[in-house]
Every structure is written in C-alpha cells, then in structure tokens.
C-alpha cells in the first residue's frame, strides 16, 4: 500500500514537472504582461513535433533535438508577441483574449498541416528501468524531472540574477517607473514571450517523450496549465512549481487508487478544494 502510494507519487511528480513547465511559461506571461496566453499549449506542441521530426527523421539525439526546438520555440514566441499580441496591447483585455483563442486555432491547424494527424511518441534512449526497494523507477521519468527542474531553475536564475531579468521584474512591478529608468518595455514583452515559449517547447518535447503528441493534446495541456496557475496563485513562479507538482501527484494517486478514467475529475476536485480554502491560490498574494 505504502509502496504503491510512493510509486504513484513518483509517477505524478514526473508528469507534474511537465505541468510546472507549461504553467511557469503561462504565469510569467500573465504576471508580467497580463495576457492569458491560451495558445501556449499549442505552441508547446509545435516544439514537441519539431523535436520528433529532428530525432526520428534527422537522427539527432533527444537533447540536441530539444535544444534546436527550444531556439525555434523562442523565435516563435517573439513572432507571436510582435505580430499577434503587441497590436492589441493598449486595447481592452478582451481583444488579447480573442487573439489568444484565434492563435490557438491557427497553431493547431498549422501543426495538423505540417505534422499530420497521427499520434507520435518521441523516441529516447532512456529505456532503462530501475527497481529500488520495490519502487519501479523509469530512467525516462528521471530524465524528464531533471530536465524540467533544470529549465525552471535556469529561468528563475535569469530573472533574479541578471540585468535583463531585473528589467523584466521592474516592468512587472511598475511599468511606468521602469520606462523612466530606461527600460524598453516592448523589448521586455518580447523577451518574456521568448522565455515562455522556450519553456513551453521543452514541456512539449517532454510530453512527447513521456506520453505522446497528437492533435488536441496542446489544448488539454493549456487547460491544465491554467488550472495550475490558479491553484498556485496567479503570476507566482513558486506557485506554478508547487501547483504543477500537486496537480500531477493528485492525478497519479487518483489514477492508481480510484480509476484512471476519473483522474482529471479528481485532480480538478483537489483544485476546487484548495481554492475554497485559499481563494488566492497556494502561494498567491492576498
């Protein structure tokens, strides 16, 4: 029983770390720019497909392929911000919301055209399975957790320790004062989208390796990402980390002990329960 629970927690942490990656990308865009970027999941999936093509067709290793996809993802983020979101920046928020929904359809359609309707799994060499004290530990899950942790840590370090990161925080806290200090708020918006999409692409590639990529997976993932965002506290990076892991673990426990058909229901029940007690989210500000 205990072993079984630990096993599910472990499995949950792996998928939870992917939710965290997606949610961190969403939370920086929402917290700094105030945009609910619904197309994030579909952008992440484009990166997942690209990683698949690079490994399967061009024979690149998993991590080199992901690195290429990450750069492409950052470039996609720049394009999305410049062409789609910047024109409506000073318009009422509903406009950016509609843009986000439209972008989701465009990206999903683009993915379908470019990569086809088939479900794909990104091949990785990490097929080893370890057994530690009755626990089954798949090498791939370890790789997924390590990669996600590294990506989030790199992003957090960039934001908290570098000059560019400080200018991002300045815009998030007080846009007008940041401009007075000489910060180019437009460049910050572009940088935030590049960062967010790069993280999303890593998330997409990890989903593709851990589970599978298919049309519609991105939309499901973005809904989970927003659930995590609300669970952890809007705009909070630590909240997105904790929220993602909580969602992943509660899903896995639900699948293991109740029914895998109900795992989403139970995960969202946990979320509703948390919000009843803490409406601002786990780590949000009151």
């Amino acid at each position: 029983m205990i072993t079984e629970a630990l096993q599910q927690v472990l499995n949950g942490l792996a998928i939870g770390s992917v939710y965290t990656l997606i949610a961190v990308g969403l939370t920086i865009v929402f917290g700094i720019l105030g945009i609910a970027h619904f197309a994030h999941g579909s952008a992440a999936m484009s990166g997942g497909y690209l990683t698949f093509i690079l490994t399967e067709r061009l024979g690149l290793g998993f991590f080199p392929a992901m690195a290429v996809a990450l750069i492409a993802g950052a470039a996609l983020g720049v394009v999305l911000e410049r062409l789609a979101y910047r024109p409506v920046r000073d318009a009422p928020q509903i406009n950016a919301f509609i843009i986000a929904l439209g972008l989701t359809m465009i990206l999903e359609g683009g993915n379908l055209l470019l990569f086809g309707p088939d479900q794909v799994v990104i091949p990785t060499p990490y097929q080893h399975v370890y057994t530690v004290g009755g626990l089954v530990v798949a090498e791939l899950r370890i790789q997924v957790m390590l990669t996600a942790s590294l990506a989030v840590a790199a992003m957090a370090t960039f934001v908290s320790r570098t000059r560019a990161g400080r200018s991002i925080r300045a815009v998030a806290q007080n846009r007008q004062a940041a401009v007075l200090m000489g910060v180019n708020a437009d460049a910050v918006a572009t940088m935030v989208f590049a960062l967010s999409s790069a993280l999303g692409v890593i998330g997409g590639a990890l989903v593709g390796a851990l589970l599978a990529i298919a049309p519609g997976v991105g939309e499901g993932l973005v809904v989970k990402g927003f659930a995590v965002l609300i669970l952890g506290g809007l705009g909070s990076i630590p909240g997105a980390i904790v929220g993602g892991l909580v969602l992943g673990v509660s899903e896995a426990l639900a699948a293991g002990f109740i029914s895998s058909a109900y795992k989403d229901v139970i995960a969202f029940l946990v979320m509703i329960g948390v919000l009843l007690v803490r409406p601002e989210g786990l780590l949000g500000k009151r």
């Binding site: 806290q173 000489g182 910060v183 180019n184």
Partner: protein
C-alpha cells in the same frame, strides 16, 4: 537647456495643455505651480516621453526630443522622480538604486551608490530590505536617490512632498536644495507652492492648461494673486 514651445497635449478627446512655453536653463531650478488638474504633471510627462505632444516642440540641449520614446529619454540625461514615489516594491533598496543606473555601463556605479547612501543615511541599513516595506518618507528618499543614480543633467520632480508628514516635507526640501547646490538642473512640480517658490530660481504658474504668470521665485512669492490663490495668505 530645456526649451518647450507651444506644447499641446492631452488624453483621449480632452486637451490638457493648450500651448504652453517654458524654459529651463543650465543649473537653474524651475518650478511649475498651479492647482490640481492645471496640467503640471502632463507637461512633465511630455518631457519624459510618457505622453506624446500633440503640437509644439520640446528641445533638450539643442535637439528635439518630443518624438523620442520614453525609455530613451533617460539616456539624453533627463530623469524623473515620479509622483507617488513609484519604487519597485518587491525589489530591495539596493536593486531599486541599481535600476536607477540601469542604462549606465561605467564602473563608477559602486562609488555613486556609496555617495547616495551617505546622502541618505536612513537607506544604508535597509539596503537589503524590500522597498515596499519602507515608510513613505523613506520611499521618497529612495525614489530621489534612484533618480540621481542615472547622473541626470536635468532632474525632474513630480510632487515630491505629496502625502508626506510635515517633518519629512522639510527633509525633502533640504534634499532638493542640496541637489540644486550640487549643480544639477531641477524642474519641479509642486502643489506645495510655498516650498516650490522658496526653492525655485524661476517659476511658472499654470491655470487650466495655460501659463498665466512667470517670474522669479521671490517675485511670485510676494505676488498678490499668487499668494492669495496658492499660498493661502
């Protein structure tokens, strides 16, 4: 140094400034005084590129700056200490000061930080503290120090005494006098007209988006209309 001519600006369909002209000469302290809504802050925001001029011109050191975007103004040597302090609440005091020097690439920043901590000794023990936890007076000092970190040629102050206790207002006044004495050119907007006119070499009185009076600080302090309308005696 700063030459503003026939400046018109506003928000939406409403014009706030109806063609005002004023000058700031090197090493001078110039004040804009007037009632709430007269357009003082809008004039400053135009100079800093936060609001676009609809007509007229703004020249700084001989070059037009009315179409320069806000984030490039500070590189020309103009910094504003904004109304309501606007410190970065979740950053430490030290990080706020570093933000003030955001555009600087030189190696003297550490020395300037030291000098500013000497000038505002209350900030030094709080260097690692979140700016949002400082008192209003301390935040004002931080906002002033942050503005000075960019080594401005022209330092603009928008309502620096607003919402502060009288004792702190005196401290702000002494601080501005020191900044002026150090040779920095100052453009000041204040509702506290008596303080502004004491500090100012010259002042302009704004009423409903027009400049109605101009003179030296002393002249305006004793001007019957000004003292009746803004000084309360």
């Amino acid at each position: 140094m700063l030459t503003v001519r026939e400046l018109r600006a506003g928000y939406g369909n409403v014009d706030v400034l109806h063609g005002i002209s004023f000058d700031v000469r090197p090493a001078e302290c110039v004040a804009l005084v007037g009632a709430n809504g007269a357009g003082k802050s809008t004039a400053l925001r135009c100079v800093c590129g936060l609001v676009r001029a609809r007509a007229g011109s703004i020249e700084f050191e001989g070059a037009r700056i009315d179409h320069v975007p806000g984030h490039r103004i500070v590189r020309r040597g103009i910094t504003m200490c904004p109304e309501g302090r606007q410190v970065f609440a979740d950053m430490s005091v030290l990080e706020n000061l570093r933000m003030g020097g955001h555009m600087r690439r030189d190696r003297d920043q550490r020395r300037d930080l030291e000098a500013l901590f000497d000038m505002f000794p209350a900030l030094r023990p709080r260097a690692r503290q979140r700016a949002g936890t400082l008192s209003g007076g301390e935040q004002e000092m931080l906002a002033i120090a942050r503005a000075l970190m960019s080594r401005p040629k022209l330092c603009i102050f928008d309502e620096p005494s607003l919402g502060l206790a009288p004792k702190i207002v005196d401290e702000v006044e002494r601080t501005l006098a020191r900044i002026k004495a150090n040779g920095t050119t100052v453009l000041l907007v204040e509702q506290n007209a008596s303080m502004a006119l004491r500090l100012a070499d010259r002042a302009y009185v704004l009423e409903a988006g027009n400049i109605v009076l101009e003179g030296s600080g002393q002249e305006l302090q004793t001007h019957p209309e000004v003292s009746k309308a803004y000084l309360g005696y």
